[in-house]
């Protein structure tokens, strides 16, 4: 049985809950009192992840940290359709890796701003917001040009990949960090498409898509 060391309000933990829901696989969670308990810095947790960060996933004796790395693992092992992380398509794998790194950048900016505004983290809030807007502008343009070519997802495939799962949570939670998405229409449309993927689940702060209407 997969064990996820989890915190409800973490967008990085949500990535994995979302991925496992898309894949339809079962798991159990060990709740970690991230706030205010700072249990991710506790002695027992540092043994699991010396970086003191969530999430951590355990499966079959394998212990993994880092949301993006775990997405790679889950999709490689548990996706018989081989679509979320197509192991036989080098170009697509390259693209996916590029956007996984981009997702880390979203964590470093949009997620940081959310921790500042909601949970009193001390950091340069203006720099975090400026950084997030820069990434959102790049993502919005990328998605807009994709739409012109008939592409609905971040990578060049006619189906979503783990790159979409990696980028979605801290984009959809950005307003909690004072980063509105009004100026990113292509991002907003992409968020709605992610919400309509079969198996989509929410976390606190994320709402399901409204009922679909014919265009």
């Amino acid at each position: 049985m997969i064990t996820l060391y989890d915190y409800e309000l973490s967008g990085n933990c949500y990535k994995l809950r979302l991925m496992m829901s898309f894949l339809g696989i079962g798991y159990k969670t060990v709740p970690v009192d991230f706030y205010p308990g700072r249990e991710h810095k506790s002695e027992w947790f540092l043994k699991l992840n010396p970086l003191g960060q969530l999430p951590v996933l355990e499966d079959d004796g394998l212990l993994l940290r880092d949301a993006q790395a775990i997405l790679v693992y889950l999709a490689s092992k548990y996706d018989p359709s081989n679509r979320w992380y197509p192991r036989d398509n080098p170009a697509l794998l390259g693209e996916i890796s590029q956007w996984l790194a981009f997702a880390d950048g979203i964590t470093g900016t949009a997620s940081a701003a959310r921790l500042h505004d909601g949970l009193f983290y001390e950091l340069d809030i203006d720099a975090a917001r400026v950084g997030a807007h820069r990434l959102f502008r790049i993502l919005d343009e990328h998605l807009w040009f994709g739409e012109q070519e008939g592409r609905d997802w971040i990578c060049s495939a006619n189906h979503p990949t783990i790159a979409d799962v990696a980028c979605f949570p801290y984009v959809i939670l950005s307003e909690e960090g004072g980063i509105p998405r009004q100026d990113y229409p292509a991002i907003r449309r992409w968020c709605d498409r992610v919400k309509r993927i079969k198996g989509f689940i929410v976390m606190s702060g994320v709402f399901p898509a409204g009922p679909a209407k014919a265009a």
């Binding site: 409800e8 709740p31 706030y35 909601g118 949970l119 307003e175 606190s204 702060g205």
Partner: protein, 288 residues
């Protein structure tokens, strides 16, 4: 960026407000916060001594620690911090739910806490679900302690608490104790004659920003403290984006400003009670 609005409500200036969760205060590093538009610097020494000073004048502010929280009073304290009898019961967890900043007037946060109507739509699958959307009539009164009290509140909840295994009709009592303090009493799933208590101390940062400091008094029976806390955060974080998107951010006290329905009876009482007590901070006052 907090708005530097001036508070002139005596009832607020001369009362105690939570300004920090004591367990989350860093030692030897000053913690900055804001109360009623006044920037404060909080220093905690290694020996536990706390000092709060105003950033504008450097003057020391009255402070005490109670229920694990740090409290401040900007004026002259006219009454003691409220008494929570359940905090004296040894078979309860007494924990902070985790302080969370919300970009809305604290009065809006209190009012949201009183509302059952939103359960099926915002806390879907937890505190409510369609088609069980009806808020059956309940009683509201002003107690002789000058609190707003709502009783006989009942609501169907699929997962009412961290230990709930199936849906049940849950009994609630709500009590607004101070303008920025509200408590919820909820039937315990195991000991049906006793109530779990959540008291929400809302810190008015300024008129359009607050910090919610939930204080949880849950029966220990079958429950660990971290689970209670995690459930509280799950629920509160569902409310947060709704609260932050309320327009206007301050609570209108004019009865015609927003249209209540029968389910909002407690909110109608709360707004009138604020009006009668001349609370204007965080509100849009009614025009005479």
């Amino acid at each position: 960026m907090p708005m530097a609005t001036h508070c002139s409500d005596r009832v607020l200036l001369n009362d105690w407000h939570v300004v920090a969760d004591g367990s989350a205060l860093p030692a030897n590093v000053p913690f900055s916060t804001c109360l009623l538009g006044v920037d404060l610097s909080i220093s905690a020494r290694n020996d536990g001594a706390i000092r709060i000073v105003r950033a504008d004048t450097g003057a020391r502010v009255n402070s005490v620690q109670r229920y694990g929280f740090l409290w401040a009073c900007l004026g002259k304290p006219e009454r003691d911090i409220l008494y929570i009898p359940e905090a004296d019961e040894p078979d309860r967890h007494l924990v902070s739910g985790g302080s969370i900043a919300v970009k809305v007037s604290g009065l809006r946060a209190v009012e949201n806490f009183l509302d059952m109507g939103h359960f099926p739509f915002i806390h879907t699958g937890w505190l409510g679900e369609e088609p069980h959307t009806e808020v059956v009539p309940y009683k509201v009164e002003i107690t002789n302690q000058d609190e707003v009290l709502a009783t006989e509140c009942k609501f169907y909840q699929p997962i009412a608490s961290p230990t709930a295994r199936k849906g049940m009709i849950v009994d609630y009592i709500y009590k607004v104790i101070r303008p920025y303090t509200v408590a919820l009493y909820k039937s315990n799933p195991l000991q049906k004659d006793r109530l779990d208590v959540i008291t929400l101390f809302v810190q008015p940062v300024d008129e359009e920003n607050c910090v919610a400091h939930p204080y949880l008094c849950y029966l220990k029976d079958g429950m660990d403290a971290a689970t209670v806390r995690s459930f509280m955060q799950l629920i509160f974080a569902q409310d947060k984006p709704i609260l932050e998107n309320q327009v206007p951010k301050r609570l209108p006290l004019d009865p015609r400003a927003e249209t209540p329905i029968r389910a909002d009876a407690v909110s109608v009482y709360y707004r009138r009670w604020l009006r009668d007590r001349a609370v204007t901070y965080g509100a849009i006052p009614a025009h005479a």
